[in-house]
Amino acid sequence: MKHTLVEKIFGNKVGHEVKPGDIITVPVDWCMVDDIMAKFCIGKFEEMGFTKVYDPEKIVLIYDHFLPSTQADDTVAFHAGDAFAEKYGIKNVHRTDGICHQLMTEAGYVKPGDIAFGTDSHTVTYGCVGAFSTGIGYTEMAGILGTGEIWIKVPETIKVQIEGKLNEGVTSKDVILRIIGDLTASGATYQALEFCGSTVSDMSVASRMTMTNMAVEAGAKCGICIPDEKTAEYCNIPYDEKIKNLCPDEGASYSKVLTYKAEDFVPVMACPSLVDNIHPVSELKGTKVDEVFLGSCTNGRLEDLQAAAAVLKGRKKAPHVQFIVTPASRKVYKEALNDGTLEILSKAGAIITTPGCGLCCGRAGGVLTDDEVVVATNNRNFLGRMGTSKVKIYLASPVMAAKAALFGEITE
């Protein structure tokens, strides 16, 4: 039988062939617990009666939503996490290093072929290195922490094949937004999205992360890219037979195949207040903007900051616009500092915040009020996500975000 990439990963792990629809119990390579869910997850873990975690080495605690803390109760999460880590011998705790989904691959945890679960929906990001990863609730996570396994229904796979070279100014963000628009916000529910083709191969791992990160916005169980030499380099592992075998079989069966020509993609934005409400930027130009947010696990990486800096070099943001830049991690911050990117952005008038979830989780980092418009590079524009329900959120690429900051309105 021929298999898609996700079927292969599961098959490798359980030691027998699997097909879509099978309900299987899989061993879990990585558990990611973020600060916002830590307290609840730990509570459930203890309520379940576990006395030890299945493997402290495979558990990663990351504080990112509540950093910097803005309410007096926020730091409770840190203490809860620290106490849990101490009690059960968990050493992988990132207290001030950046966004969880950035760190899980950047800090060397998730590798090609791994199975990872996290207490946050954007856990799907790790598919960028050819791993299966998905978000779950804290009760299920508590179960995994105790048992090291979880049941899962093997998903059908939608193949997204993109061939050719993207036009100048078009990024992987435009690609994934367009795909979500075509699939709709529920079009991939319960299914895997497999991204392939020469366009995806040409992308950096960072660009692929943007795509897999947003797979969940089409409802997908996971998004995944085929690991290659770039992946191996990014993960700091040899590009060997094991990785080479992590690719879908010729003739594997898909529930759907979407085929795109790279040249057909144009800059787009997801308009208020649905992620699948996609329009070309050409239709939106002239829309006045109050704030621009460059950051998040979707687009807060070095190449994203560099893309914005290329637009803004030697120029100043529009006077009335708040331009907020939140690097995805300490490492990204440092690299952007050392290559001059942050200096360009600062001189352009950006407010450069500490790495973390920032505005994307709507608790700080530039929350807005009624009738304000924000162009943001993150993954969700739901009603009320960044302030009141009258805030209008447009999701865009770093290039389009930088242009909006520069001109104070959406600009092609």
Binding site: I36, G49, G384, R385
Partner: protein, 164 residues
């Protein structure tokens, strides 16, 4: 889980995301009880106070899309909602609801056939009757029924750990 019950319908549309079910700013509140007043607040701030225990929610497609925040189904359960019937559910919400013992039912037709305030007779795994019209519903896969029957995942795990 198979006894028939009566429920008043609250109607919502497509793509009810988890930020609508419970906005991020309330996630740091100490208990789910504290969060209850803010359920659905971005869309219908008055709704949480109007929902009475035993009522049901009927929605369109993709209910619960977005975040993995389990406080979303927990808060709905805490409001006393007996079940949610939607054309489809987002997957994380679906798992979270089952794990917390909140009954979810998929049905393609009910949403367009009823109005808010209608009363429904629900027989899980079998049918829903509204205004004299019958809507057949499927039963859940066996492994999910096991969790539901145990009263949620926590209880299932306690049993596994020899505690109950």
């Amino acid at each position: 889980m198979s006894e028939t019950f009566k429920a008043k319908i609250w109607k919502l549309d497509d793509d009810i995301d988890t930020d609508i079910v419970l906005p991020t700013e309330y996630l740091a509140l100490k208990t789910v009880e504290d969060m209850k007043p803010y359920a659905f607040s971005p869309l219908r701030p008055e709704l949480a106070a109007q929902i009475k225990p035993g009522d049901m929610i009927v929605a369109g497609k993709n209910f619960g899309c977005g975040s993995s925040r389990e406080q979303a189904p927990e808060v709905v359960k805490a409001l006393g909602v007996s079940c949610i019937v939607a054309q489809s559910f987002a997957r994380i919400f679906f798992r979270n609801a089952i794990n917390n013992g909140l009954l979810l039912i998929e049905n393609p037709d009910l949403h367009d056939a009823v109005k808010e305030g209608d009363e429904a007779l629900v027989t899980p795994g079998e049918k829903i009757v509204v205004n004299g019209k019958e809507f057949p519903i499927a039963s859940l896969p066996e492994n999910l029924m096991e969790i539901l029957n145990a009263g949620g995942l926590v209880k299932a795990m306690r049993k596994r750990n020899g505690l109950d």
